[in-house]
């Protein structure tokens, strides 16, 4: 039955995360942006509260509860997008800086061996904040993830990695990074492997933290692998994963599969940002705008459009998450929600800025949100890549590869 009502658990998660966003995140949002980092004592505090950005829990399906809970419908992906919208509403840069496996969680959860899951996902404890990261993008390979240049050379007991990664969220502070490299560039996708590289590994370093338009409180790192030895046990999924699939593009599939669960999460973040800008501006319009005339007409049209776009983006995102929860293929829906949410979120923020006019330039949250939101139309696959993914699915019945 089609329903957009939240279950009891979904409602609880939404309320709980909203409370946290409103009373713990929003009050430090502007200051964190100015500082260019989230204060360490705040991170310690929330880590002790057990609050993590752990996207892997949203997409887990390791079968651990099979047999015990056969009748219970999985709702992890839906819970994930509901929670993420709220924390991004609080502040997206702080949200991305929350301790936890972050975007590195899903590949380990979906492709890691039981030992790797235990080793890498159990470190996120309350004693101190820790992070995971996901390193795919390189200076010469962004949208074309199949073209990565970082090499992995097989040696006795492991692999030697050489190459550079850029735009890696939490990459400098992460305890481990899921890094993609190729064992043979001439094999293209088939040559790709995913490794979990631990902080402190010899030859692995963070060379730079990027200065950005927005999301300034969140760390975006450049990583360097120089003759970096990674043991066999850190090859994600182990050699068995690549043998089972007969070397058919497994590393690339790990990277792509991750997107089907993380794109709805990123979309929900964009929605949270748009909603924050919309609610902030609506409040000002209600209090300070005239109730007639050209300003009023502009406000009614812009706010109605923003309200509609936010709702539509949310429904697309819920659909992608719902499909993942019930085990249906969701690549097209995940790309749709990401493409739409990334685009409308910027548009909503721009409309809100226009309603604020010059006043909005000084000390108003919306200009920060505008700077923050742009990248949501870029990372986890640009808007153009999402269109490509959607088009491929659209033409699949006709066996046309676009």
């Amino acid at each position: 039955m089609i329903s957009f009502e939240l279950s009891e658990q979904q409602q609880q998660i939404k309320e709980m995360t909203h409370w946290f966003a409103e009373y713990e995140m929003r009050p430090i949002a502007m200051e964190a942006d100015k500082l260019g980092k989230v204060p360490d004592d705040w991170l310690d505090k929330v880590n002790q509260m057990g609050i993590h950005l752990n996207t892997s829990s949203f997409s887990s399906d390791d079968g651990s509860d099979k047999g015990q809970n056969r009748k219970r419908e999985r709702e992890g992906n839906r819970l994930g997008v509901l929670a993420t919208e709220e924390i991004a509403w609080g502040d997206p840069a702080i949200a991305l800086s929350l301790p936890g496996a972050g975007l590195g969680g899903p590949p380990i959860q979906s492709s890691g061996t039981p030992e790797q899951k235990q080793r890498f996902l159990s470190i996120f404890t309350k004693d101190k904040p820790r992070w995971g990261a996901y390193a795919l993008t390189e200076p010469e390979a962004g949208s074309d993830a199949s073209g990565i240049q970082t090499t992995a050379k097989k040696v006795d007991g492991g692999y030697i990695l050489n190459g550079q990664k850029i735009f890696i969220t939490n990459g400098g502070r992460a305890s481990w990074v899921v890094a993609f490299a190729t064992v043979d560039r001439s094999l293209g996708r088939m040559g790709q492997r995913a490794f979990v590289v631990e902080k402190g590994t010899s030859g692995f370093s963070c060379t730079k933290l990027a200065k950005k338009m927005g999301l300034r409180a969140n760390e975006t790192a450049e990583l360097l692998f120089e003759d970096c030895f990674v043991p066999d046990e850190n090859l994600l999924g182990g050699e068995a994963l690549y043998e089972i699939t007969n070397n058919k593009a497994s590393g690339f599939q790990v990277a792509m599969k991750t997107f089907d669960s993380t794109r709805p999460i990123v979309a929900s973040m964009a929605i949270g940002i748009a909603r924050a800008a919309y609610e902030y501006t609506l409040d000002i319009v209600k209090r300070e705008y005239p109730r007639h005339g050209k300003y009023f007409q502009l406000a009614t049209e812009y706010l109605a459009e923003a309200d509609q776009d936010i709702t539509a983006a949310r429904l697309l995102t819920w659909e992608a998450a719902w499909r993942a929860d019930i085990g249906l293929e969701n690549a097209k829906e995940a790309a749709m929600c990401k493409a739409f949410a990334g685009q409308i979120a910027l548009d909503v923020c721009a409309k809100c800025l226009e309603l604020l006019g010059p006043v909005g330039l000084e000390n108003h949250l919306v200009e920060k949100l505008y700077r923050d939101v742009k990248v949501f139309d870029i990372f986890e696959g640009t808007n153009e890549i999402q269109h490509l993914v959607i088009a491929r699915r659209q033409y699949a019945p006709f066996e046309i590869k676009v």
Binding site: L282, L303, L315, I326
Partner: protein, 380 residues
């Protein structure tokens, strides 16, 4: 629990509706347009399968389906051809009125007639939006006088009855139920060439027609409440039909561009083409979900239902223009000629948008709800 899974019953309805749309409605669409009327056997078949009584209550031998089910079914039917769906005689836009107020004494005498003869047709004449029309309703001692000419209205040419939504010269809202035998309106001769040619669109002229109190369904606040309830349901149903047309245009353009070759390859392989298909797919899904959301809210008697319906219809209008125009564009010159259906779909889409609310007025009304709050908008 958030779910996008239709029920088994809905899936069965949709399967039948889609089959009818593809095998019967679409093949006859051009001929119906040329004849400016939906062919009787086709209309009869649609009626016999129960698709004209989805909205009606059991009293009216209807199925009384929730809006969320109806939205999916009318979308599937409109996948065949919106022009045909909008031209089927019967209750038309008065169906929500019959669902909500079907036990009104005024309908008692005609109920049997309406139930047994499916071609008996009701046109909904909503003259609150008056630009380009001059319908005037004047109260007299024990009756009203209606005069003037309306805007073009769907099903006006075939109408045996008129459900009138109006305000009198003093601003008092009124709903009346008129019948042709008593009220003798005139169907004007204007010619519609743009779209929905089979749906009986015409202006209606009234020469000092006397509306007795026996013809009046509701006045004042009660009438306003009734109008809004009927409009809400119609907004959603029309938006759902528009989504059906969008899906048709998307699928047709996808298949065409998958097969058409230029510069030595399938044109789908050009990103200018494939990206537009992707955008059409997104727009269609966006409109669909907003329709579903509005339908669910109204089914749940949520007070936000009217706002959600405004939102759904506005977006459906905008998306419909984009998607049908894109289909014509992607077919190139073939899109412009009548050997292919997409030019008709674009024309039908535009006519539909013109009939059912100006996009920016819908948007402004919704915006006023947001900024002023619903109560303030009503009082204003």
């Amino acid at each position: 629990m958030i779910s996008f899974q239709p029920t088994k019953e809905e899936l069965s309805f949709i399967e039948v509706a889609k089959e009818l749309a593809i095998e019967k409605i679409r093949p006859e669409a051009r001929a119906c347009e040329d004849n400016k009327q939906v062919h009787n056997p086709l209309a009869k078949q649609i009626q016999q399968l129960g698709f004209l009584s989805l909205e009606l209550t059991e009293d009216w031998e209807g199925l009384e389906l929730p809006l969320i089910s109806q939205a999916q079914i009318v979308k599937a039917l409109s996948y065949g051809d919106l022009g045909v769906v909008q031209g089927i005689p019967g209750y038309g836009d008065a169906a929500p009125f019959l669902r909500l107020f079907g036990n009104h004494p005024i309908l008692a005498s005609i109920k049997q007639q309406l139930r047994t003869n499916f071609q008996q047709t009701i046109a909904l004449l909503d003259v609150e939006d008056q630009w380009g029309a001059n319908v005037i309703l004047t109260p007299e001692v024990d009756h009203y006088i209606l005069k003037g000419t309306s805007q073009p209205v769907r099903l006006a040419k075939y109408a045996d009855y008129i459900l009138l939504f109006a305000r009198d010269v003093n601003g008092q809202p009124l709903i009346a139920f008129l019948n042709k035998e008593e009220h003798q309106w005139t169907v004007m001769d204007g010619e519609v060439r743009l779209g929905l040619l089979a749906s009986g669109i015409s202006s209606l002229s009234f020469e000092r027609i006397r509306i007795r109190k026996e013809n009046i369904v509701a006045l004042g606040e009660e009438a306003l409440h009734c109008m809004q309830a009927v409009r809400t349901r119609n907004y959603i149903l029309h938006a759902a039909k528009e989504v059906g047309l969008m899906e048709a245009a998307l699928d047709y353009a996808t298949e065409y561009t998958a097969n058409r070759k230029a510069f030595g390859q399938h044109i789908a392989k050009f990103q200018g083409v494939s990206f537009r298909i992707a955008s059409m797919a997104i727009e269609t899904q966006v409109a669909n979900h907003l329709v579903w959301e509005a339908a669910l809210q109204v089914d749940a008697n949520d007070e936000k239902g009217y706002g959600a319906a405004l939102r759904a219809l506005y977006r459906a209008h905008r998306s419909l223009r984009y998607v049908t125009d894109s289909a014509v564009q992607l077919l190139g010159g073939h899109g412009f000629v009548q050997e292919y259906p997409v030019e008709k779909w674009m024309r039908d889409g535009e006519a539909q948008v013109m009939l059912y609310g100006r996009e920016h007025l819908l948007l402004q009304e919704r915006g006023e709800q947001i900024v002023l709050g619903v109560k303030e908008v009503v009082e204003k």
